[in-house]
């Protein structure tokens, strides 16, 4: 449902069905709602069968990359020669995204059940749930849920541990996350080796996002075919997805819809549209790392992996940031660039220097000291920041800059030409 608002009839509530119900947080409350039946079902199957079911369902990773979940699981060695690990990525830090937080706050057992099923499928002995350090409330709720489920004996031999982060966006990158669990600086690793070959502690590892794992129990109880049938447009995008909508909408919050749902309906109907007298100017559909859409693109965009790409952006994490006509796009793009400059791990030159200089040039433009050549300079920088580094943080900084200049060039030019009141940046 559109937590914290009442569910909208156009939503398809699967993951968010119990958001707002405190009783669903408890072990007993979860079992009463049919919880942990899917785990029992999975345990009675061969791991390979569980992987096949998830493959058939079409479930794709909900953390941002959209990689097919069953296929990812199948990369793990079939014959177990070393310990296998599962890492759960609960380091939700992508600006615009706040869905995993809600899953952990309201349905912690959905995540634990999905985690245990995934661990069975990939034959993991240990699962680490990496929760970002700032999520104090989700952490406390997960701790309680884990203790209760553990004492009820539902996990068998599987060990599930919570690992608290300490403030670093980059640890949401899967190899940085593994380094952070190992007690290291959160620097991403060069791939290959891929995690399924050598992941955390050098052992075969799978990393899955919270929302991905929370979707697994209903796939087992209701079947792959049923999940696959939840699709409004592209057959490659199946199931429901939580969209976190924020910014200039009347009712921000989490909304769960079937993939292929029109972005226009999400913004104007489910979220109540813009504030009175305001019109939509721009929208970032998949968390701050994806290209910005203008109004026409937003209003014609279908929310699935293929539909958003068709409009020139990406579905990403499903964090929808809406800007109305009051937004200063130059300032907001500077804020996003500053975010990436702050969060760069500084390993790669293109990222360390690129994110910092992008921010400085944008600040200079805002201060009324920009030069006409600055826009080309920003685009040139962006090109050198794309596809050239160990991870995609650098690319993520370039995405809003390139799309922002392309679609809102006149706003930048007004600052440069001195036709806009300069903004002194703190």
């Amino acid at each position: 449902m559109g937590y914290p608002h009442k569910p909208h009839p156009k939503e398809t509530v699967l993951l968010s069905r119990y958001f707002g119900e405190a009783d669903a947080r408890t072990y007993k409350g979860w079992v009463k709602r049919g919880g942990y039946a899917a785990l029992e079902q999975a345990r009675a199957m061969e791991p390979a069968r569980v992987i096949d079911i998830v493959k058939e369902s079409g479930l794709r990773g909900r953390g941002g990359a959209g990689f097919p979940t069953g296929l990812k699981w199948s990369f793990m060695p079939k014959e177990k020669k070393k310990p296998h690990y599962l890492c759960v990525n609960a380091d939700e830090s992508e600006p615009g995204t706040f869905k995993d937080r809600e899953i952990m706050r309201w349905t912690p057992h959905a995540l634990l059940e999905g985690t245990a099923i995934a661990a069975h499928a990939i034959q993991a002995d240990v699962a680490y749930i990496y929760i970002r350090g700032e999520f104090t409330e989700p952490l406390a709720i997960m701790e309680k849920a884990l203790t209760d489920a553990r004492s009820a004996g539902v996990f068998g031999d599987l060990k599930i541990h919570l690992h608290r982060g300490a403030g670093a966006y980059i640890c949401g990158e899967e190899t940085a996350l593994m380094n952070s669990i190992e007690g290291k600086r959160g620097n991403p690793r060069i791939k290959p080796p891929f995690p399924a070959a050598a992941g955390v502690f050098g052992m075969p590892t799978t990393i899955n996002n919270v929302e991905t794992l929370a979707a697994v129990p209903p796939i087992l109880t209701k079947g792959a075919a049923w999940y696959k049938s939840l699709s409004l447009s592209s057959p490659k995008s199946t199931g429901t997805k939580l969209f976190s909508v924020c910014g200039h909408v009347q009712q921000p919050g989490n909304y769960e819809v079937t993939l292929g749902f029109p972005l226009k309906d999400l913004v104007y109907e489910l979220c109540g549209g813009m504030r009175p007298g305001r019109t939509l100017k721009a929208c970032i559909p998949g968390g701050s790392s994806v290209p910005i859409l203008d109004r026409a693109e937003t209003e014609s965009c279908l929310l699935d992996y293929e539909g958003v790409v068709e409009r020139g952006s990406m579905l990403g994490s499903g964090g929808v940031i809406v800007f109305d006509d009051s937004a200063d796009m130059v300032y907001q793009i500077m804020r996003l660039a500053r975010f990436y400059a702050h969060e760069s791990c500084a390993q790669c030159t293109q990222c360390r220097e690129g994110t910092a200089w992008t921010t400085k040039i944008l600040e200079r433009i805002l201060a009324g000291q920009g030069k006409p050549a600055d826009l080309d300079l920003l685009l040139d920088l962006a090109e050198n920041m794309t596809g050239k580094t160990i991870c995609v943080l650098s690319d993520s900084c370039a995405a809003p800059v390139v799309s922002g200049i392309k679609k809102f060039r006149s706003e930048f030019e007004e600052y440069i030409a001195g036709r806009r009141q300069p903004v002194l940046v703190a």
């Binding site: 830090s93 541990h161 403030g167 190992e182 804020r335």
Partner: protein, 173 residues
């Protein structure tokens, strides 16, 4: 944001009180059991220190290094990577305000100003003269639909507006 306005630590090495006494070592043992290496207990061990002492000094880092079989330089390298570990003493209440784009367009910067005024901290990263408050701006707190989220110590407060700030500050006095 820089935290430059802190006074230098007054505790000298001769007065150092170890953090990992018997009870804390027991807690550490429980943590160590979760991982195949001792090094992996570093982030949780640093959290234990910060909870006990409010911040993590070079001397604390050396102690953590000793109990985990690491070098002080290595521990410092890790501490400085993560923004939530305090390398300086902070106010009794530590306030983190999100000012990234989604909160920014919803008025986060005004919330920061209201907090700086109401707490008397005045400057970002500085501590109020009464030692009670330190306020910092942080990047995305992951609650963008509840702009502006503010973290006061471990309390995550949603939908803060400048108008709500005085009441929040009063609650922690």
């Amino acid at each position: 944001m820089s935290a430059g306005a802190h006074s230098s630590p007054s505790v000298g090495p001769e007065e150092y009180q170890p953090v990992f006494t018997e009870q804390m070592l027991e807690q550490l043992q429980e943590i160590l059991a979760r991982y195949p290496t001792k090094q992996a207990a570093l982030l949780p061990a640093l959290w234990l220190v910060q909870r006990a002492r409010g911040w993590i000094s070079d001397r604390h880092m050396a102690e953590v290094a000793e109990v985990l079989g690491l070098t002080p330089a290595y521990v410092k390298g890790v501490v400085t990577f993560y923004t939530m570990y305090h390398q300086h003493p902070v106010g009794r209440h530590f306030v983190q305000v999100c000012t990234t784009s989604p909160c920014n367009i919803c008025g986060a910067e005004a919330v920061v100003q209201a907090l700086l005024t109401a707490t008397g901290a005045k400057e970002l990263g500085a501590t109020s003269p009464d030692g009670k408050w330190t306020v910092i701006e942080v990047e995305c707190l992951g609650a963008c639909g509840f702009a502006t989220p503010v973290l006061v110590d471990d309390d995550f407060i949603e939908s803060v507006t400048p108008e709500k700030v005085p009441e929040i500050v009063r609650k922690y006095k």
